[in-house]
């Protein structure tokens, strides 16, 4: 049987960048009818360029050059020359794109878009039904902005499948969706694939999705394929170092939450060594009068190779980084407390147009405690965080922040790039934070520089980067700068709003490891807002499940898999791909 897609020794470079960027280098793979091939990689791996090339969407830019060939359903094509693509693109190969909101023309009804492809209204309605949209007639007359994210993606799938392509490209089709919607969309894609018998190329950075969806996997890195094989084999026993690193970084409900995630990373290790040495220094100080005792008490495994080895052996536990015994006298004190907090927002529809987002929310974060708020978009989880930060005020109920003043609360947002002033250097950003704080305002230049340097070490960023502006940094680096700014004057509580969801798998695990290190070594409380139960489990002691503005469940992270009892909580749990 001939494959529906045969990519042969394809290389692609972007000439418009200086220096010219070789995005894809000598890539070959095939996809058969009915097969789903996952193209997996992090940003910059070339997976997106590969995805665009096999749809013939690189033929407009004359600065893109290529070698090799693509054969789709028997037609041999050049990745960057238009010749021949016209009969293939949109007919034999179609695509489900990532962000269905921007990928659908906002000025056109679903019906007009779909009928352009199907040719008749009846056929369009049939396709809307086929992708399991309730009320196809209503959807037919709707504009994209009137639909939910999941519905939009179903429309996108209908558009892509209506031509009955031999090959379907799924370009991160679930990345912009809620986890529970994601599961439904994947199910739909699998069903449709079985019905149509088309081959699928599934481009994604999400390993869980790839594992759930794909028969075979190619793992890409820096434009090259570094590993290929059946999904089962690649996930169970990856051969290349990079694939192994990726698989280890993946968070599932089985991830050990008592130790760092993933494989040892030199940057995190150096931050750990720093923290251990600091703790030892504190111990020495406090034990100074009794010199002999201190010699015995101080552990000496504080060299990077030792820590790395311990990590590799899965023996490095977070509890090691606690500077003082966790046992304390009496009840632990609350540091943030919500009692019956309600909130609604103006919707603009007249004087009475208010949409309630929180209903009598009560929660409590104790000293040194880490609490995760888990819910989907629109659940009100970010509003809680904004109220806790003082960025919004509650309509009713009380918010207590005993013993906290402005310095003690810091927020890390999802899009760290946008929260960093673009024309200031990293050094200026951190210095500014110190100067604006109560505790740091009176410090001398040298003291501030020292604080800033230590903060950079703690998030394992090179001090050289102090002179760079945020625009030059990678996404992961920017997120770490945001964390450094939040902890340069150590706060009592750190409020995190999905700080890892825009990051690559391995970068996300670095950020989680750093946050965990900081909360253990500095004793910072954390309120962590996320849609990802697996991440919540790793970063927190306790998980609050929130839905439609109400906290519906509170469970200990330790046994979240067993103790979640609400329907909604179980659904979220099921949505975490193993």
């Amino acid at each position: 049987m001939t494959p529906v897609l045969d990519v042969s020794e394809m290389s692609i470079s972007y000439g418009s960048r200086t220096p010219a960027l070789l995005a894809v280098s000598d890539v070959s793979f095939t996809v058969d009818s009915g097969q789903c091939l996952g193209v997996v990689g992090e940003s910059g791996s070339g997976k997106s360029t590969t995805g665009l090339a096999i749809q013939g969407l690189l033929t407009r830019d004359s600065s893109v050059t290529s070698t090799g060939s693509i054969t789709i359903a028997g037609t041999e094509l050049d990745p960057v020359l238009e010749t021949g693509w016209r009969q293939v693109r949109g007919r034999k190969v179609t695509t489900v794109f990532q962000d269905p909101m921007s990928s659908l023309d906002p000025t056109m009804t679903v019906g007009r878009m779909l009928t352009f492809v199907t040719g008749s209204k009846a056929e369009s309605l049939r396709w809307l039904e086929e992708v399991e949209l309730r009320n196809p007639a209503v959807v037919y007359g709707s504009y994209p902005h009137q639909l939910s994210g999941g519905m939009r993606q179903r429309v996108m799938i209908a558009l892509a499948l209506a031509r009955r392509p031999a090959l379907l490209i799924a370009d991160e089709p679930t990345t912009a969706l809620d986890v529970s919607v994601q599961a439904q969309i994947l199910k739909l894609l699998r069903r449709e694939q079985a019905a149509l018998g088309c081959g699928i190329v599934f481009v994604t950075h999400d390993l869980g999705v790839a594992k759930a969806m794909c028969d075979d996997i190619v793992v890409m890195r820096k434009g090259r394929i570094v590993e290929r094989g059946s999904a089962t084999r690649v996930f169970a026993s990856p051969e290349s170092d990079y694939a192994r690193h990726l698989m280890e970084s993946r968070l599932t409900m089985a991830t050990d939450r008592h130790r760092p995630v993933g494989l040892p990373e030199p940057t995190v290790v150096s931050a750990m060594v720093e923290a251990l040495n600091e703790n030892r220094a504190v111990d020495e100080d406090s034990a100074a009068p009794d010199a002999t005792a201190s010699e015995v008490a101080v552990p000496d495994a504080t060299e990077p190779p030792a820590v790395t080895a311990e990590w590799e052996a899965k023996a490095l536990l977070w509890s090691r980084f606690r500077p003082e015994p966790a046992v304390r006298d009496g009840e632990p004190e609350a540091i943030l407390e919500f009692a019956g907090v309600s909130k609604s927002f103006h919707t603009g529809g007249g004087r009475r147009g208010r949409k309630p987002v929180l209903f009598s929310v009560s929660l409590r974060v104790e000293e040194r405690e880490s609490v995760a708020l888990v819910g989907e978009s629109g659940s009100g989880k970010s509003t809680i965080l904004r109220i806790a930060a003082g960025l919004e005020t509650a309509d009713s109920g009380s918010v207590r922040r005993p013993r906290l003043h402005a310095d003690d609360i810091q927020v890390i947002f999802q899009d760290a790039g946008a929260s960093l002033t673009p024309w200031l250097t990293v050094g200026q950003l951190l210095t500014e934070r110190v100067r604006n704080s109560k505790r740091g305002g009176a410090k001398s230049r040298a003291e501030i520089d020292e604080l800033v340097g230590v903060a950079m070490d703690r998030v394992s960023l090179d001090r050289e980067l102090l002179r760079s502006k945020p625009g030059l940094l990678s996404g992961g680096q920017r997120q770490r700068v945001a964390i450094a700014r939040a902890i340069v004057i150590p706060p009592a509580i750190l409020l995190c709003d999905e700080p890892t969801s825009a990051l690559d798998v391995s970068t996300a695990s670095t950020v989680l490891n750093l946050l965990n290190l900081l909360r253990h070594s500095l004793g910072i409380s954390v309120l962590f807002v996320t849609h990802d139960l697996a991440a919540a489990r790793v970063i927190s002691d306790r998980i609050l499940v929130i839905s439609d503005g109400r906290i519906i469940e509170s469970v200990l992270s330790e046994d979240v898999g067993e103790s979640v009892s609400s329907d909604y909580g179980r659904r979220l749990l099921d949505a975490v791909l193993s």
Binding site: Q55, L57, R86, R89, G90, R91, T94, T95, F97, D99, S102, S103, L104, D105, P106, T107, M108, F116, V117, Y143, H145, M156, L159, A160, R163, G348
Partner: protein, 331 residues
């Protein structure tokens, strides 16, 4: 829709009221004495007092304003001090003159915008030259443009007439819009004459706004062609042409339309200058004489008309905007 129109009608009333207050206060603060303007500098004291009483100028300011408002509600804009005729009568033939010019100027602006936006998206030296020429023209003030056009098209080439609205005022039509009147009377020569008179002033007023509009439109189009929805269309085998006309153009028109609303407003005021240069017997000319002679009823009348036109124009733009972009709600 009904709610929207009602709300805009409300804002029309508010705009007209505040305009009348503004003009009224300005007139009272100003040094110029309308009665002296009316009677001449050497009029006897008795005549001045009588005239003052006749216009109600001896009454307290609030009473004067109230009287003016009452008149306004009855469609009476008062008596012009300098011409001694009712302002409504005076405006009756000035308003169509200016509106006709404005409509043509807006029309030219749209044509310039669309053509230039096309040129912007082309590449090559010719497009570069055209862009440069229009960019420099757009940065010139409209009086300079008007003078240049007079020099070139009237004095040198004799293509178009330079002065007034019409050569032979044979038709005395019902609307005051000369091109339309000619058509209604079946007198095509008259219409053509009116069109020729319109070309230069309308062009002078439209180049600046047209070029500004072209940039917004061209930006919108190039953004649209590179957008995700264009990519989707491409992946579904739509041609570039179809993507441009079915998707990008409509998406690009909403920012261009908002811009158009703003430009149309400022174009109205630039017409004042253009009318002077082309001796166009419209609101602009009328306004400048009225200002110099402290003719309050006339100034107020023109201001109110321009304010009303502006409010109606924005409402129209908003309606079109909502038609073009389904996400926009009329409010």
């Amino acid at each position: 829709m009904a709610k929207f129109l009602l709300r805009r009608a409300g804002s029309l009333v508010v705009v007209l009221l505040s305009l009348s207050v503004l003009v009224f206060v300005l007139q009272r603060i100003g040094k110029a004495d309308p009665v002296r303007a009316y009677l001449g500098a050497n009029a006897p004291a008795l005549a001045v007092t009588q005239a003052r009483a006749k216009f109600g100028l001896d009454q307290p300011m609030l009473v004067q304003y109230w009287n003016y408002l009452v008149g306004l509600v009855h469609g009476d804009l008062g008596m012009s001090y300098s011409t001694r005729r009712p302002v409504t009568v005076e405006l009756a033939d000035k308003v169509p003159a200016t509106l006709e010019l404005a409509v043509w100027a807006l029309f030219f602006a749209i044509i310039i915008a669309v053509v230039l936006a096309g040129v912007y998206s082309l590449k090559g030296p010719v497009s570069g030259v055209i862009r440069l020429v229009f960019f420099s023209l757009a940065s010139a003030p409209s009086f300079l443009l008007a003078t240049l056009m007079l020099l070139l098209f009237f004095m040198q080439l004799h293509w178009f007439p330079a002065v007034g609205r019409i050569g032979d005022p044979s038709v005395n039509g019902p609307t005051g819009f000369y091109v339309l009147d000619g058509l209604l009377a079946g007198n095509l020569a008259y219409s053509w004459d009116a069109v020729q008179h319109l070309v230069l002033p309308a062009l002078a007023a439209s180049i600046g706004p047209g070029v500004a509009l072209a940039r917004v439109l061209a930006d919108g189009l190039s953004f649209g062609m590179g957008s995700n929805y264009a990519r989707t269309a491409r992946s579904l085998a739509e041609s570039e042409r179809s993507i441009l006309f079915r998707h990008a153009l409509r998406n690009a028109s909403s920012p261009a339309l908002s811009m158009f609303g703003v430009l149309a407003g400022s174009m109205l005021s630039s017409l004042v200058v253009v009318e002077q240069i082309f001796s166009w017997n419209g609101l602009g000319q009328y306004l400048s004489t009225a200002i110099t002679s402290a003719d309050f009823p006339a100034v107020a009348g023109v201001s109110l008309v321009l304010g009303a036109v502006y409010v109606v124009l924005t409402a129209m733009v908003d309606i079109v905007l909502a038609l073009v972009d389904p996400r926009v709600k009329l409010a």
